[in-house]
Amino acid sequence: MNTVTDAKDNSWNLIIKPKGKLFDFNFKDLWEYRDLLVLLVRRDIVTVYKQTLLGFFWFIIPPVLNALTYVIIFGLFAKVPTGSDNLILFYLSGVIAWGYFADCINRTSSTFRTNASIFGKVYFPRLIVPMASVLSALVKFFVQFAFLLVVMAYFGFTGSAPDVQWQIIWVLPFILLLMALSGMAIGLIISSLTTKYRDLSNIVPFAVQFLMYATPVIYPYTFFPENLRWIFDWNPLSPMIEIFRHLLMGTDRLNLLQLCGSALFTVVLLFIGLIMFNKTERNFMDTV
């Protein structure tokens, strides 16, 4: 668990000790295992479409079906105002962006549970596994994002081009990084807690869903009555989704200040997540 070089005697290259510092990561060790990271991502992706008829399309079909459901129910029946002329793009981009975040949480939060059998048998830096989860989710996101671009191009050619905010499009990678890191941070915390308090794992799907409704994903900021909008203002996830959509189609708010708050929040959360993960990984095999 604990790999440090002994200060007094450098010829020992591995020292196994009970307790380390609170924040004790061996980044050299992580780097040594980078091939494993790549192969785990590859495994996650390849096994999704193995032996399915539609193969790779399964990355795209779920968000499309989700978006269509929202278009029909919220857009056509309930007539929720979206502030956008293009319902399909509004819901599809929201679903894809949120889907990436939710995917990060869902995958990383079960790290210890789904890998207990491997963790019990072989040592490798455990952090590789949640990192691989986030990267696999990112690959999936890129496929969906490419599809979104195709749909946008289609609307562009048919005369209803989305209002892409070209001059600030460079913010987009930053948004994705924040989503990945915050998703991983929450996942790390949940995965650490679920090894001891199992009940949590049952709550996660509901919590993620609840979080979605507390974020302007399938409706814009203005959908909530004014006395409830503080939820969006204080929710560190809402600027990520709102700005994502703003960059692509000019809807929603461009709340960059709140985004800075989100960034700060993400860093703190990630720090907490890493500490908790680190503390859990060393002894979780005794309690699982």
Binding site: L14, K17, Y33, D35, L39, T47, K196, Y197, D286
Partner: protein
Amino acid sequence: MKTVVHVDQVSKMFRLGDVGSSTLTEDIRAVYHKLTGKTNSHLITADANDRAAKATSDYVWALKDINFEVKEGEIVGLVGRNGAGKSTLLKILSRTTSPTKGQIKIRGKVASLLEVGTGFHPDLSGRDNIFLNGTILGMRKAEIQAKFDQIVEFAGVQRYIDTPVKRYSSGMYVRLAFAVAAHLDPDILIIDEVLAVGDAEFQAKCLGKMKEVSDQGRTVLFVSHNMGAVADLCSRAIMLKQGTQFMDGDTDDVIRAYVKQNMNTGLKDQSALNDPTVRRGNGAVRFEHIEMLNASGQQANEFNPGDKVVVKMTVKVNEDVDDLLASISLRSGRTRDVVTSTGRNQVASGPFKAGQTLQLTYEFNALPLRPGVYETYFWLGDNRAETAFDVVDNLLAPLVVNIPEGTNSLHVIGYFDLPFKFEQKLF
């Protein structure tokens, strides 16, 4: 010789019972203790690790103050009964869990094999799994690439290398998994005996690989309750007992001590009933007691070639059975091959009613075995070959045939004395 493994005062505490039910309140208490500066009382009240004794504390020392050093090129056996702490020490050494106290220092690249095929994904091809499993075990991709052909050849699965492993036969699967592990090239190999569960060919391969690794001057830590294999492979052994280090020394001495302690306790060990590596069978009839006696009627497990050996078995019938057969086999420690067996011997007076107790006695008048350590295998079953009532596999003391004093045994190899005549004529 350099010291390559240094184990220093290593202890490990475990929680008993259902983990999770009350941990929240306990954690709050622990935080409270921390804040108020009091020590957590649990650390003080942990019991010694004796499974049979009634627990007085929720915590137990699975390992207590283990100290030893391993020199480069040594091949050390770690022995002890079920629950003695072997696996816990193995887990700490392989870093899947951390010690509660103490530390271990290691020099060189370590590979620990607690299992083969860790991380194999059924949907991936043999090729993909070689890379995945290899990197999990700590190899770099380029390293695997370089050894890829060797691995495939060693496993003998060339034709199926691009087929998902879920379509492999179990034999092919294990061979592929082992092939990856066999190409790790560590300085220190930590290997668990449970690996050797499987067909005889695979067991022999595992033990052969260990021998090969040690012949190359590398260090091996072998965890086992297979006395035959330990005697055969290790020059030094460490015996654990109830979590403490009971003995560290010459393999023969340690085995003698181990055998003395466990002469007959194994059969009463209820936990062994749940361990298919040592005890199997449906339980319709069970061994109650098995003892080996020498010519003067005393319990013994060490004999000289040509000695008389008597095996007395007390057998309890738990369910009505029509017929009952018994058998004793002896296996070699190294290859795990059956060296010899009595065949299956019918107990004449069937059928048997539940509750009956029988005594069966085997008498071997002149032991034809050559010096060595032979694992014992006792079997009870019926005429249908598939049904075993009870199998006691290497749970009891092995049969040890000593080298008679004053003989030069160096050229006596093999298991049996062969009666022969040797004539010479000079012309």
